[in-house]
Symmetry: C2
Subunit: 557 residues, 2 copies
Amino acid sequence: MTKKNRLIYLPLGGAGEIGMNAYVYGYGPKGKERLILVDIGVTFPDMDTSPGVDLIFADISWLAERADQLDAIFITHGHEDHIGALAMALPRLKAPVYCRAFTGNLAVRKLEERGMDTDAIHIVGAYPEVVQAGPFKVSFLPISHSIPESAGLVIDSHAGRVVHTGDFKLDETPIVGEAFDAKLWGEVAKGGVKALVCDSTNVFSSAPGRSEVTLGPSIRHLVANAPHMVVATTFASNVARVKTLAEAGRDAGRSVVLLGRAMKRMIEAAVESKVLSDFPSLIPPEEAISVPREKLMLIVTGSQGERRAASAQLSRGKYLGMEMKPGDLFLFSSKTIPGNEREVIRIVNAFSEMGVDVVEDEGHLYHVSGHANRPDLQRMHKLMQPQILIPMHGEHRHLRAHVALAKESGIASEIVVNGMMIDLTGEEPKIVEYVETGRTYKDGAVLIGALDGVVRDRIRMALNGLIVVTLIIDEDDEPLGEPWIELRGLPEVGASKVPLADLLEDDLTQLIGRTGDKVLRDDDKIDDLLRRRVRQVAMEELGRKPEVQIIVSRLMA
Amino acid sequence: MTKKNRLIYLPLGGAGEIGMNAYVYGYGPKGKERLILVDIGVTFPDMDTSPGVDLIFADISWLAERADQLDAIFITHGHEDHIGALAMALPRLKAPVYCRAFTGNLAVRKLEERGMDTDAIHIVGAYPEVVQAGPFKVSFLPISHSIPESAGLVIDSHAGRVVHTGDFKLDETPIVGEAFDAKLWGEVAKGGVKALVCDSTNVFSSAPGRSEVTLGPSIRHLVANAPHMVVATTFASNVARVKTLAEAGRDAGRSVVLLGRAMKRMIEAAVESKVLSDFPSLIPPEEAISVPREKLMLIVTGSQGERRAASAQLSRGKYLGMEMKPGDLFLFSSKTIPGNEREVIRIVNAFSEMGVDVVEDEGHLYHVSGHANRPDLQRMHKLMQPQILIPMHGEHRHLRAHVALAKESGIASEIVVNGMMIDLTGEEPKIVEYVETGRTYKDGAVLIGALDGVVRDRIRMALNGLIVVTLIIDEDDEPLGEPWIELRGLPEVGASKVPLADLLEDDLTQLIGRTGDKVLRDDDKIDDLLRRRVRQVAMEELGRKPEVQIIVSRLMA
């Protein structure tokens, strides 16, 4: 048995996917490491894989079982994929949460919404301020991203310095929040960086990233020249963009209205936490109704086509008294995240039917990404000169490309996906353990495992439909009356043109009539017999095998 | 009552969407027009809107009710969104089907697969060959597209000449099939074109379209320099692309293997109908196993990530004895159709995990579109100089942009979507009727209407889960035993940590105990009572309101 201390890294989410970030670091003797968690985010469900689910986050069982080893949770920034699961995870983890002011403002709101105590949230200043968390000294190192006060983390232990970038881009003119400060980052790297754990999202984008400030002129020009009402959507958390849009409206002599709860909440949080000042004055929707349309600019939620957000509402008709008219302009100051295309296109077509001119970001005039592109990543590698580079925040293809990029510069690197525990103590990253990980679904008010079968059953009902058969067996093990059939999600009539329920009831009645007592005495055998027959008849009639639920009610003597 | 003849155009599908093309033309006195149908295609279901559905095509009820007025069906080309519903629609339409040889070969295969008679299929030569269909004279005017023998239709009647472009691009070097022949199209336009009914797919692409031939060098270079096995996927029907890929393999000294039923079927059809000759020789998969990997080139189906196609199979493991290994190259010589991103990305990541180098068409080196871009559309407008332009094959946003484009050139134009009947007789298009249209689902072996409620029920079960309650009421209107609960697609345990089924059984038993005879005598009232209570308890326990199925079995005296 060795008592040597080791420095470990274990992603529970975010490594092998974009979304639901959750990274564990540990330092100490094997199995007894003191732990910290960086970020605890969500990812969003879809109909294909998770119908009916509200939110998805990393399975934190491993960490929850070691809650007594956990010294702190650090949140790098306020995007949902980094902070969204905090309220769900905190009761199991019971650790203090550290973040910067804006992120903290959002965190407090999240806990308050659920009536939770907010004492766990601690607001921390930027580097060189230090949080001592067990064997770790951790600082928040400001960096530019598409939300205010994003930060990398400087994580020091006796095993050396780890820099966890969080999500970032290299923006020296970010409109809101701190510019990327190469000098500061360089200073942090001076004593040597053991490992750089680095955002991989845009590793496939080969041109250098563009600054938020570059959008101003094109957005101003578009808004100033629009003949009627202008409506623009972007990610609500992109406070800088919202400001650019609002200023373009104001400069064009338009009254500016924010629509959508998230939009208003973000601006409020930014003002309260003092990251935003001099935001153009706003008018409420009820006042907007009396302003001439050509003097209006709405900034709205729903850039991803979310059904309940303001954009989708406007595409279906009136929303808070506002409605789109022919000649209005609708601007997507955003990109469509892969998987959301159908929803966004639906909105674009609905606006087209209304005669609205939709401007998407085809020519990259109205949106810039919040993540570092390939050349920016190279710049970061060079600046930090880490001994080891671990790519994070990416699908497998991103991690793989990022490792290749690091190796081109002679940096030791390894693809580390969720559940792989890495020892960073030595000169090269070493895989030391595979931890069982997965996804937890917030399903209504209940947390369920992705593999619990609940969602699988929903998908099966959606794909196959359901036939429910009820049968009563009397005290003498004789059927009482006929079986009763209910169809759900299935055509009522198939090949023979006879209603399928009637046909099945007749067919099963005959089948049961021919069935011996031995089967009728055994619920499992009846179940099996009826199920097979129902599926067979359904196949003949409908050309498909539905899900079948057999309910046998047995009267007691 | 006027006896004046009129020329009408009525899209039943394809106008307001990309997919399920079905366009009706008619000529004759109002309501007594003789009709022809151009194309009868499908579109594909998705989990969000049509779970469990196999195929979707236009509701042809309007036309089926007028089958005695229908003189012919013309198929412009063999893509599924133009020909895919032929076998399903033909029994209701009972009209002769005209197409060119390659398309006809595919049509015959479709009917034979279902054991249908193929007598209805008639192979027609290219323009100037004419099919007389009632009052119409129709010719197939060859044009380039991403499948062999695509054709526009020259549709002559006493009201003048209509040119229906079908899907097209302006490719003068298309590798397989006829080049775009501007002289021939100009000739057709000479006597004047009343209406050009024109593909709108790529109206948002501002650069001129690129020829199929431009891909040869980059594909050859990629394949020649790959160190290990090369696997390439493209749309199986893009015979020219498959040829380019196969030749690149052969020229690099590789044995070429086709994987995937559709791929082999398309090449067979192309050879049989003589549109393809000098295709590189192929080897079967069972031989390929003994060829050194660096001497192999597979061309496979599944460019859209389809679960059962060869690409997806290879991403999950062995397929027909073949399997991917580290250092192999996988090329997407295709674009991802919006909505298929998730499936494609899943495959890319699976290959990444295998250490395969995936090449997508980021730099447009390995794929060109089959549709005319904006400048090509302008060229076509200029060449044909139609009196009227009707955009088709596009979502509303495409149709709208195409109308604007036509009007820029002073051409009369109108957005015509599915169900709008247009009179083309005069100088301007005139809306004369709105016909009820919609979508028909092929669901297993049954055809159902999109609004029949079947699919809506499936979606509800997927989103909400289902609780089945069975209750037996005896001859005296008294409950016999307790209600029985089955949960489907729901967590078994909620807030109170008691199994939900047990909790509900107890709760409903008490509820029924408190319920008066008047309710117990009335099935609707029991249903309503239990349903409300189940939803209420589920809301308290699970935080969601599931679908509820109440089954009351009443014993007869």
